[in-house]
């Protein structure tokens, strides 16, 4: 499914799956017993065995065993949770403010952003609050969540273990665009982060190198006209591009094609030639070296 | 003749005295005021329950019922304070 990508996440997952395994074991045993009893003791298979009305030993067993089991589950959950709540002293602390319907990040030196930039393998403290109603700050890949409550600050932290761009979603219903209240956490190597952080106002924003193709699409402004999630825009969406059926305009009239890698490449390099029908012809040709073109094509091929 | 009006008057007088004591205590400062709140107020409530509301003469069930309610409220409060008292 979704791999855990922060320190805490790995541990959360281990605890979770261990208990899932234990529970499934008990659950399967329970179900099997139930089915076996129903089959064995049907009226059509008569027997003269006396039915017991209770057994102190059995009932004590199945009181004590679950109690011990459940309390152990508590203990493992708490151990990890305590760590999540204890923000390391050396962590950089970002003020995260939710408002209807966007996230804002403010760094100690005054930098304000709408994406969360964080260094790889370093603890990052979050002070989560809200400017209006309650929101929920959630990065699923890090198994991290803290409610943004107006009038108070909730503290948590994470330490990302892989570079990349990760979804931030709002988890508390906060109005009409609750489900649009998403943002991104950009995890970059520490050096790159420092360059930006200490580089004054003009320093270029850090780009996660994974997936690089996506970062390039963003810097070249492609995403201004093409969506990634299938929603309609100025140009066709990038969602499920490879293998899609399109109608293109050729000098010889309309033609149906199936999008392949060649088509993707040519559409980027020479957009005026045979564009997709039904869209305005506004796309500029991009001057790209192979260093840039290939990751882009790679991303679009396997993209979202 | 039976003097049925005497016991209620006694309860009433006790309630007034306790109220006066409570008022006096709360003028002495926050600590005595809190003490009054925690000791005298429940005493007054207990007097009303026991005499005016006749719990004294009722069977076990009727005495358990309000006790359950008050016990539940106390537990609610203490659980609430497991949060607020440790913020």
């Amino acid at each position: 499914m979704t791999p855990p990508l922060s320190l805490a996440a790995g541990s959360t997952d281990r605890v979770f799956w261990a208990w899932v395994a234990v529970s499934v074991f008990f659950y399967a045993a329970l179900t099997a017993t139930m089915i076996a009893f129903v089959l064995r003791y049907r009226r059509s298979r008569p027997h003269r065995l006396p039915a017991s009305e209770g057994s102190l030993l059995l009932e004590t067993t199945w009181t004590v065993v679950p109690t011990v089991l459940f309390l152990t589950i508590f203990a493992t959950g708490w151990t990890d949770y305590r760590r999540m709540r204890a923000v390391p002293r050396e962590a950089l602390r970002v003020l995260v403010t939710g408002r209807q319907w966007s996230w804002g990040f403010r760094y100690p030196n005054g930098k304000e952003t709408s994406r969360l930039y964080a260094p790889l393998d370093r603890p990052m403290g979050l002070e989560v609050t809200s400017a209006d109603v309650i929101h929920g700050f959630y990065i699923p890949d890090f198994r991290l969540k803290a409610d943004a409550v107006p009038g108070r600050v909730n503290r948590t932290w994470f330490q990302a273990t892989r570079e990349g761009i990760y979804d931030i979603q709002c988890t508390v219903i906060c109005g009409v665009d609750h489900s649009r209240m998403v943002a991104e956490a950009v995890i970059v190597p520490e050096a790159e982060f420092r360059r930006w952080y200490f580089g004054g106002e003009e320093a270029p924003e850090p780009q996660a190198s994974q997936p690089r193709g996506l970062a390039l699409l963003r810097t070249h402004g492609c995403l201004a006209c093409h969506s990634l999630d299938g929603s309609p825009s100025v140009g066709p969406t990038f969602q499920e591009l490879l293998g899609r059926r399109e109608q293109i305009e050729t000098p010889g009239g309309l033609r149906d094609i199936r999008v392949d890698e060649r088509r993707i490449r040519s559409a980027i390099v020479d957009p005026r030639h045979a564009p997709v029908a039904g869209y305005p012809r506004v796309m500029p040709a991009a001057e790209l070296g192979p260093d840039d073109l290939e990751p882009m094509v790679g991303f679009l091929k396997g993209g979202p | 003749m039976e003097r049925w009006w005497i016991p209620p008057l006694g309860t009433w007088a006790a309630l007034l005295v306790l109220t006066a004591a409570l008022a006096a205590l709360s003028r002495l400062g926050p600590a005595p005021a809190l003490l009054g709140l925690l000791l005298l107020t429940p005493t007054k409530a207990w007097l009303v329950l026991r005499h005016f509301m006749h719990l004294k003469g009722e069977g076990l069930l009727l005495r358990v019922v309000p006790a359950v309610a008050l016990g539940t409220l106390l537990i609610y409060l203490s659980l609430l304070f497991s949060d607020v008292a440790f913020r």
Partner: protein, 528 residues
């Protein structure tokens, strides 16, 4: 002997103003079935919306209103009143050998409070600022600031709470005062025990909901500062108060369901229930410990760490009595003489699905896991398993079990069996899918979802189609029984409790002579 309660009078007034507990039960059943189907229809629509947008007909705002309405209907109008109002009303007096509840007119009043509450809650859809969009939990300060008609919806829920409280008072008093001679507490059927425990939760928790809603209304109408930090209030106080009621409320939903299952299993196994006392007392244990765990809804809210620990430990403890019940139910099948009839099948399905829901509950009660799954589809999966798989299936099972008693006819056995595979498959695809989606990080109450979650949404929606088919077949089994079912004998299942000693349907007075109880409720004779 007089005629059956169904023949005791015909016009509509003889129903709407009847204080006969059986008729009141049927009134609830009729109204609630309609509400359930409407709520379920909305659920079905929400699933479709995750596949096709239906824009501009359905916007993000509409979607927010849909899940709020779905939640409010299902929780306050279906699962909370559900089993006590319908089966409790119909059966409680009969099960303890009484003629009616202790306060029959109050009982009718409860029904009318319920109807009024439902009407007011539904009226909030069409008046003021339009349907509420806050989710069924009405979290402040959003619920205080939204322009939608939260005030009226809160008033509706307030009335429903009143109805629930009055029912609780009535049932407790009835059980204390009207048991037949010889019926000590430990000779009561387990369903009665469960109603008794539920009654206490109803009167000890519901008033907290009532004040919470009063406070929300006051704050919206007059700007009294209780919950909104802009006015000196505190949003976490709202959550505390709301869940102080609403967690116990989940046990108001499940405990009577467990009681019904505890009747069905021994009846079809034709043997005494295993561990009668443990099952009876665990209902009380669930009711009392269940009032102490509400904070597990607030682990990410910024509650103090002490609070987190206390509530997480108590959450683990409250699961123990449920586990005891589950094991005792399974043991009740051991060495029985089992008739495999639809009510039993549905009851076993209850055990299976409720256990799954309970286990997910325990997992999410662990603090670190909760941080990840809180407010995701995982939670939505959990509560559909316990509420629909639990209470809902208990309702379906109890509906079949007592249908002959209530209507005097047999349902269509063939259709009832045929509905099961669809219900079972659809249910697990849909709600199992929710658990998976939640673990992958899909937040709840989302109109738009990120592309990474699209696949699992398709999966869930397909599941919902199968489930609908199952529900429709079930409804058909009942309708066919009503229209063409064979006449039901007094005791079609060979049951041992008092309701099977009176004719189907029961006469107005229930019993010709007051029964005298000389033994426990589950004594089966050879050959029965």
């Amino acid at each position: 002997m007089s005629g059956s309660y169904l023949q005791a009078g015909h016009g509509i007034r003889s129903w709407l103003l009847s204080t006969d507990h059986k008729r009141v039960g049927i009134l609830y059943l009729a109204l609630m079935s309609g509400l359930f189907l409407a709520g379920a229809g909305i659920g079905f629509l929400m699933r479709l919306v995750q596949l096709y947008r239906f824009q501009p007909l359905i916007t993000a705002q509409t979607y927010n209103a849909l899940f709020t309405l779905h939640g409010v209907i299902m929780i306050f109008l279906f699962v909370i009143p559900g089993l006590p109002a319908v089966f409790g009303n119909f059966l409680l007096p009969i099960l303890i050998g009484a003629r009616d509840v202790l306060f029959p007119r109050l009982n009718l009043a409860s029904f009318w409070f319920f109807a009024a509450g439902a009407a007011v809650a539904l009226a909030s859809l069409f008046t003021g600022g339009g349907p509420p969009d806050t989710g069924w939990s009405f979290y402040a300060p959003f619920s205080l600031r939204t322009g939608t008609n939260v005030t009226l919806a809160a008033l509706g829920v307030f009335l429903l709470g009143f109805s629930s409280m009055l029912t609780g008072i009535n049932f407790i008093a009835t059980i204390h005062r009207l048991r037949a001679p010889g019926m000590g507490f430990f000779r009561m059927p387990l369903f009665v025990w469960s109603l008794y425990a539920t009654g206490w939760v109803q009167i000890l928790a519901t008033p907290i909901l009532a004040v919470t809603l009063i406070l929300v209304m006051l704050e919206r109408l007059f700007g009294v500062g209780i919950f909104d930090p802009a006015r000196g209030g505190d949003p976490l106080l709202y959550q505390h108060l709301f869940w102080t009621y609403s967690h116990p409320a989940v046990y108001i939903m499940i405990v009577p369901a467990m009681g019904a299952i505890s009747e069905i299993l021994p009846t079809f196994a034709h043997r005494p229930v295993f561990g009668y006392r443990a099952i009876a007392l665990s209902s009380l244990a669930i009711a009392s410990v269940g009032s102490l765990v509400w904070g597990h809804h607030m682990f990410t809210s910024g509650m103090s760490e002490t609070g987190d620990i206390v509530f997480s430990v108590l959450t683990m403890l409250v699961a123990v009595p449920s586990a005891i019940k589950v094991f005792n139910w399974v043991a009740t099948l051991h060495r029985g003489r089992i008739d495999f009839e639809p009510p039993l099948l549905y009851a076993l399905t209850f055990v299976f699905l409720f256990a799954a829901g309970g286990i997910t509950g325990v997992l999410q009660g662990a603090l670190s896991v909760n941080v990840h799954v809180h407010d995701t589809y995982w939670i939505v999966g959990h509560f559909h398993y316990v509420m629909f798989g639990g209470t809902g299936f208990a309702f379906l099972a109890a509906g079949l079990h007592w249908f002959p008693k209530m209507s005097g006819r047999m349902y269509s056995r063939r259709l009832a069996f045929a509905a099961w595979p669809l219900l079972f498959t659809g249910f697990n695809l849909l709600y199992g899918g929710m658990l998976a989606a939640g673990w992958m990080g899909m937040p709840r109450r989302y109109f738009h979802h990120l592309p990474r979650y699209h696949g699992i949404h398709v999966w869930m929606t397909v599941g919902s189609w199968i489930l609908v088919a199952g529900i429709l077949l079930y409804v058909a089994a009942i309708l066919r029984g009503l229209l063409r079912g064979a006449r039901a004998p007094a005791n079609p299942w060979g049951g041992s409790t008092l309701e099977w000693t009176v004719p189907s349907p029961p006469p107005v007075e229930n019993f010709e002579t007051v029964p005298v109880i000389t033994e426990g409720p589950y004594v089966f004779r050879e050959g029965s």
